[in-house]
């Protein structure tokens, strides 16, 4: 940088003086812009004493070149110069500095107010009117440095914050994707009902779930957690799990609600809960069951008019027990009827004047809702017009369900015709494994073998487990039921059972199941055999003679349920037929 070196000649001479004055530290580079050499030299000398490394420019143009090359920490600017004047030079320097704060102090002989105002307008940070005292200048420099340091600290923190914020946003977006997939990917029949969901934050506190009922029909839950954002969404996962799992297993509305309530009550803190509306639509589409805990009213448009389904219960997760879930509210519906469900984000959205949608426009949408026609388009046209001026404040979810005969009739399982052929399945357990008899339903379910006999599984499970425990306890473990005659004996029996399972278990139990469909019904055959010496199964008939006898009920029960129960091989083989 030859230009700089030639300019700094006096600077280096000044530095000698500085040495003698023992400067404390290097305070940075100061750029002095003045067309008069004497002024520059004087100021340069002073600044060097103050610990600056000084740079000198005798014109605006030179100042810009030097600024670009050296990036000084502070600039002293004359106003009146040939070529670019001080105002324009300052303007350009400030543009070059960008977000970096580099103070520019005007040193001017102009005294009129207008000129001083222009100093500030062009981007100058301070000004001193010549002649000025060195003490005042020093004080001004110190003040500027303070501002600059503050600016730098803020700017560094700002950068760190921006980076953090961006990372946070990315992570939120990722988590949101995973969560919403987990929550909504299991939803059923989503193409058959209308749904609009909009979130105020990345995570939505609103939740919409749908699942087919095992016997046909559809269940929908619209929920709204307290607050929004991550904290509101986190509860959606257990709710979705309970909803889908219990619906699949055929539990009724009340049981599903009780379970969700229980889970949320245990998981969420006191001030968090979920308002929810749960509906079930019958297979034929002719009946609606509903439950509303803390959600805005649902609206049912029928042939005879509008029907309001008002919230009648507390939200879920508020109290440990859920009152009023047991008696389902039922409404007959006809093809062409429609149901509208929504979260409060819709009704409470405000316009520019703070007026809520529920008090401005919502009623008209309901009034103009014609039977058989979808209401969502009109609703959102009015809604968007209402809050065109205002940012979205709360999450919004709206569901519209049309009722048509058999629209939601068929879960996939029932759509596939029940296979006309049967199956045979068997399992042999040995050694200590005999202790644990598997649940037949959980074994057959993943094999897809429950088609056609799902509603008989309870009975079949009972038959299998009674026959199995007989084979295990009397066959393999050689325990005598009559031990159970007295309360002490009852206890001793089970202690002995546990002891023998650990120490003396070398036997084997074989379980065979077969199924054959028969017209509208079917037949399941259960065969259990064990490696024991057999026992006297007829003993079990004793219950009939003595109904208060505390043991031997199992086989009697099986005989009641089955068409026939036959023992062979001295009781070590049993063959039961269950037909419906």
């Amino acid at each position: 940088m030859p230009a700089l070196e030639s300019l700094s000649v006096t600077g280096s001479r000044g530095a000698v003086d500085l040495d003698s004055a023992t400067p404390k530290r290097v305070r940075g580079r100061a750029l002095i812009v003045d067309d008069e050499t004497a002024n520059r030299r004087l100021l340069s000398l002073m600044l060097q004493r103050e610990g600056f490394h000084s740079l000198e420019a005798q014109s605006g143009e030179e100042a810009l070149a030097l600024f670009a090359a050296e990036r000084p920490d502070i600039v002293f600017m004359d106003v009146v110069m040939p070529g670019l004047d001080g105002f324009e030079t300052t303007r350009r320097i400030k543009a070059m500095a960008g977000l970096d704060f580099i103070p520019v102090i005007f040193l001017t002989a102009l005294k009129d107010e207008q000129s001083l105002v222009r100093c500030t307008q062009s981007g100058g940070d301070d000004f001193l009117v010549k002649p000025f005292s060195v003490t005042v200048l020093k004080a001004r420099i110190l003040a500027m440095e303070r501002v600059r340091d503050l600016q730098r600290t803020i700017s560094a923190k700002q950068q760190a914050l921006t980076a953090l914020w961006e990372r946070d946003r990315e992570e939120h977006a990722l988590a949101e994707r995973v969560l919403s997939q987990a929550v909504s990917s299991q939803n059923a029949a989503t193409d058959k009902f209308g749904l609009v969901q909009r979130s105020a934050a990345i995570f939505s506190g609103d939740l919409v779930l749908s699942a087919h009922l095992p016997g046909g029909g559809l269940r929908i839950l619209v929920g709204d957690f307290t607050g929004h954002g991550l904290a509101a969404t986190i509860g959606a996962l257990p709710v979705a799990d309970v909803f889908h799992a219990m619906t699949r297993k055929g539990f009724d509305d009340a049981r599903v609600l009780l379970e969700i309530n229980d889970k949320l009550y245990r998981v969420l803190p006191t001030d968090r809960f979920m308002a929810a509306c749960l509906i079930s639509i019958s297979r034929k589409g002719d009946e609606l069951r509903w439950w509303n805990g803390g959600m805005p009213s649902c609206w049912l448009r029928t042939r005879t008019g509008l029907r309001e389904l008002v919230s009648h219960a507390l939200p879920l997760g508020v109290l440990p027990d859920l009152a009023g879930a047991e008696a389902p509210r039922r409404i007959p519906v006809s093809p062409g009827d429609r149901l509208l469900m929504m979260t409060d984000g819709v009704l409470e959205a405000c316009d520019g004047e703070g007026l809520m949608f529920v008090n401005a426009g919502f009623d008209d949408v309901l009034k103009d809702w014609l039977r058989g026609a979808p209401v969502l388009p009109a609703l959102f046209e009015a809604f968007d017009a209402h809050c065109a001026e205002t940012p979205q404040f709360d999450d919004v979810a709206v569901v519209e369900v049309p009722f048509e005969a058999h629209l939601f009739a068929a879960p996939t399982l029932d759509q596939i015709p029940v296979p006309l052929s049967g199956w045979r399945w068997s399992l042999e357990l040995e050694g200590e494994r005999v202790a644990r008899q598997p649940s037949i339903e959980s074994v057959l379910e993943p094999l897809g073998l429950l088609d056609g006999l799902r509603q008989h599984m309870g009975v079949i499970e009972t038959i299998v487990s009674e026959l199995y425990s007989n084979a295990l306890e009397h066959g393999v473990l050689k325990l005598d039921s009559s031990m159970k005659e007295t309360p002490e004996g009852f206890d001793a029996y089970y202690r002995e059972r546990a002891r023998r399972l650990v120490h003396a278990c070398s036997g084997q139990v074989t379980l065979r199941l077969s199924y054959r469909p028969e017209g509208d019904g079917g037949c399941v055959r259960v065969q259990v055999s064990d490696s024991g010496d057999g026992f006297k199964p007829d003993d079990t008939l004793g219950v009939a003679r003595n109904p208060t006898r505390p043991w031997g009920r199992g086989i009697a029960l099986v005989r009641d349920l089955c068409e026939s129960v036959t023992y062979r091989g001295n009781g070590s083989e049993v063959d039961a037929i269950y037909r419906w």
Partner: protein, 101 residues
């Protein structure tokens, strides 16, 4: 927007009034209004006559107050509800948990 409280010793009653929007921004102020008060010695009244709007986090705060006041045994009274506020409380069926005037 403010939360204020009035203690009436002779009636053993604390009245907490919320003016303006009752939402999450009032969380600290609302909690501070009751946390130092012995729930065995005082009854709580929440005065919402100056409340223009109530969101779900405010409902949560009311539940926290109810818990502080003794949960199932507590009788927290809510008074002075305007129409919008009353609608929100009715939708969530808080009349089952609070005595609402």
């Amino acid at each position: 927007m403010s939360v204020s409280r009035r203690i009436e010793k002779e009636r053993s009653e604390v009245t907490i009034a919320v003016d303006g929007r009752f939402d999450f921004s009032q969380h600290k102020a609302f909690r501070d209004a009751y946390r130092d008060i012995d729930a065995n010695a005082m009854r709580f009244v929440v005065d919402l006559s100056g409340t223009s709007y109530l969101d779900s986090s405010a409902l949560g705060m009311l539940l926290l107050l109810r818990e502080h006041a003794g949960g199932e045994e507590a009788l927290v009274r809510i008074q002075g509800c305007g129409e919008d506020v009353r609608r929100v409380l009715r939708i969530v069926n808080f009349q089952q948990l609070f005595s609402i005037d």
